[in-house]
């Protein structure tokens, strides 16, 4: 009886848990089939997510980068940024729609320019570390073992074979074709590992939900909780 009294949504905390449980069960009802219960909560989810983003992603940024510099710090030149950005909203107009492309062009151009920086900071160090792998034991790298050399050779061989597979500039024949096939097999190992990791990540989420239902809602203490 005590369990049942505690189970009911009689306190604000229990009510909050019940709301979470109803949301979870509504989403899981899709596993049976598409139904109004699921559709209701699906639309609620979209509405809540869109509404939430306005706080931290719109108001916060506009206040921090536009309102505060102008009204609090007095940097008046920022005043032109929002009117310029507002050109985006002409996208819905048939007559003035092209004006929104000026702002879109700004974003695209800046993203392209920033990608040069990203390429350099993200990919070049990787290339550098790949090329610096020692492939033989010498006095320059005394800590390297035979196994390390084998692993480094394997690393380079896999990298080259997978890159060969992705080379489409000419017809692959002979040794190149065989290397590309080997590259495809290695690629399958990589994709298998990604798939395995993805499955486990999703399973972790599912376990989290089941734990919430059992531990928080039904109050069945599991795992020493």
């Amino acid at each position: 009886m005590d369990w049942f009294t505690e189970f009911l949504p009689r306190t604000p905390e229990r009510l909050s848990i019940w709301i979470g449980v109803i949301c979870t069960l509504a989403i899981y009802s899709l596993l049976y089939r598409e139904n109004p219960f699921y559709r209701f909560f699906e639309h609620m989810y979209i509405g809540l997510a869109a509404g939430y983003s306005l706080g931290p992603l719109f108001v916060d940024i506009i206040y921090r980068y536009w309102i505060e510099p102008i009204w609090v710090q007095g940097y008046w030149a920022w005043a032109f940024v929002v009117p310029y950005g507002m050109y985006l909203y002409f996208i819905f107009s048939e007559r003035y729609g092209w004006i929104s492309r000026i702002v879109i062009g700004t974003l695209i151009g800046a993203s392209a320019g920033l990608f040069f920086q990203e390429f350099s900071s993200r990919y070049l160090p990787q290339l550098n570390s790949t090329l610096k792998r020692p492939l033989w034991i010498s006095s320059a790298n005394p800590d390297i073992t035979g196994w390390d050399v084998f692993v480094n050779f394997l690393f380079i061989a896999i990298l080259i074979s997978v890159l060969t597979y992705f080379t489409f500039s000419y017809e692959q024949r002979g040794v190149i074709k065989r290397t590309a096939i080997l590259g495809r097999w290695f690629l399958m190992i990589g994709l298998g590992a990604i798939f395995g990791n993805t499955v486990m990540a999703r399973m972790a989420l599912l376990i989290g939900r089941i734990y919430y239902l059992l531990n928080d809602w039904l109050m069945i203490r599991i795992g020493g909780g």
Binding site: T24, I46, L48, G51, S53, I102, F116, Y123, L154, V162
Partner: protein
């Protein structure tokens, strides 16, 4: 100081500090109003441009926006040969990088607002025109308005611009922690069920590639969870973790052939170069695409 550094540091960009708070607010508001009038007043002028001229404006803006970030990155850091008094740790464009990124943040926020506006517009139309299943659009709009109110109020309260009342705190907590977060977790965990049917399709052994994919995925899936250690060590009566220093050769081999060890080796030795090769492909492809976008060679974008 270089011309640009000098220009940014100039006090002309800032309202005089001698102004009182009220005066600053008034002048700032008038300048913002003027900026709106000026920028929106440009529209009739822009509208007079012929199609070629419009495209030229877009292409030029795109190019200049990209050029700024590219030039800042590619230009030599030490610029003292031309500007002797320059700071040797940065080039003359570097001081403008942070303001430029802030501009992008603001435009990005406005783009988010545009997406939200599009969503609300679509669902308002559904309701007004009473299209099929318009009731769900009502649910979406009510959820949106309620959450937007609490989210904005909460954000402003965190900045101490409005008072954070217990009503706002409790309402935001119910909407965010006990509804949105729960829906989010449930929605993404739902994929766990569907991934099994995807796994069935992927793992049907029809070729060498499918077999390798299945074998690797199985090893990783079992190896990274306690089940792998249970099968490899507990069932065989071996201690978990690395083989003891005084272990015989057979025990060492068994330890090395344990599923967790193999899964870890697959992930670090075989998977890492594959990921790096994919990354290189993505990077080179991205670079080519960035150049095409920057120079407006990509059709349909600008």
């Amino acid at each position: 100081m270089t011309p640009l550094t000098h220009l940014i540091a100039q006090s002309i960009w800032r309202l005089p500090e001698t102004l009182s708070k009220d005066q600053r607010y008034l002048y700032a508001s008038l300048i913002v109003l003027g900026a709106f009038v000026l920028v929106l007043g440009l529209i009739p002028v822009l509208q007079t441009l012929p199609p070629r001229g419009r495209r030229a404006v877009i292409v030029t803006v795109t190019f200049l926006a990209g050029l700024f970030f590219a030039a800042e990155f590619f230009l030599p850091v030490d610029w003292r040969s031309i500007f002797p008094k320059d700071d040797p740790t940065r080039n003359f464009l570097t001081p403008a990088i942070q303001p430029a990124q802030n501009v992008l943040q603001i435009i990005g926020a406005l783009a988010l607002g545009l997406g939200t506006y599009g969503l609300v517009r679509l669902h308002l139309r559904n309701v007004v025109q009473k299209r099929t299943q318009w009731g769900y659009s009502v649910v979406l709009l009510v959820a949106f308005v309620t959450m937007a109110t609490f989210s904005i109020w909460n954000t402003l309260a965190e900045k101490e611009l409005v008072k954070k009342t217990p009503f706002v705190e409790r309402g935001f907590s119910i909407l965010f922690d006990f509804t949105l977060v729960q829906l989010d977790a449930a929605m993404f965990s739902l994929i766990a069920f569907y991934i099994f049917s995807a796994a069935y399709r992927a793992f049907r052994i029809r070729s060498v590639e499918a077999s390798i994919l299945m074998f690797t995925a199985m090893v990783v899936m079992i190896g990274v969870v306690p089940l792998g250690a249970y099968i490899s060590y507990t069932l065989l009566g071996l201690p978990q973790g690395p083989a003891p220093a005084d272990a015989d050769l057979w025990t060492r081999i068994l330890h090395s052939a344990g599923l967790p060890t193999i899964a870890n080796w697959v992930l670090t030795t075989l998977n890492a170069p594959v990921q790096r090769a994919i990354e290189f492909g993505v990077g080179i492809g991205g670079l080519a695409m960035a150049i095409r976008l920057w120079l407006s060679l990509e059709r349909g974008v600008t």
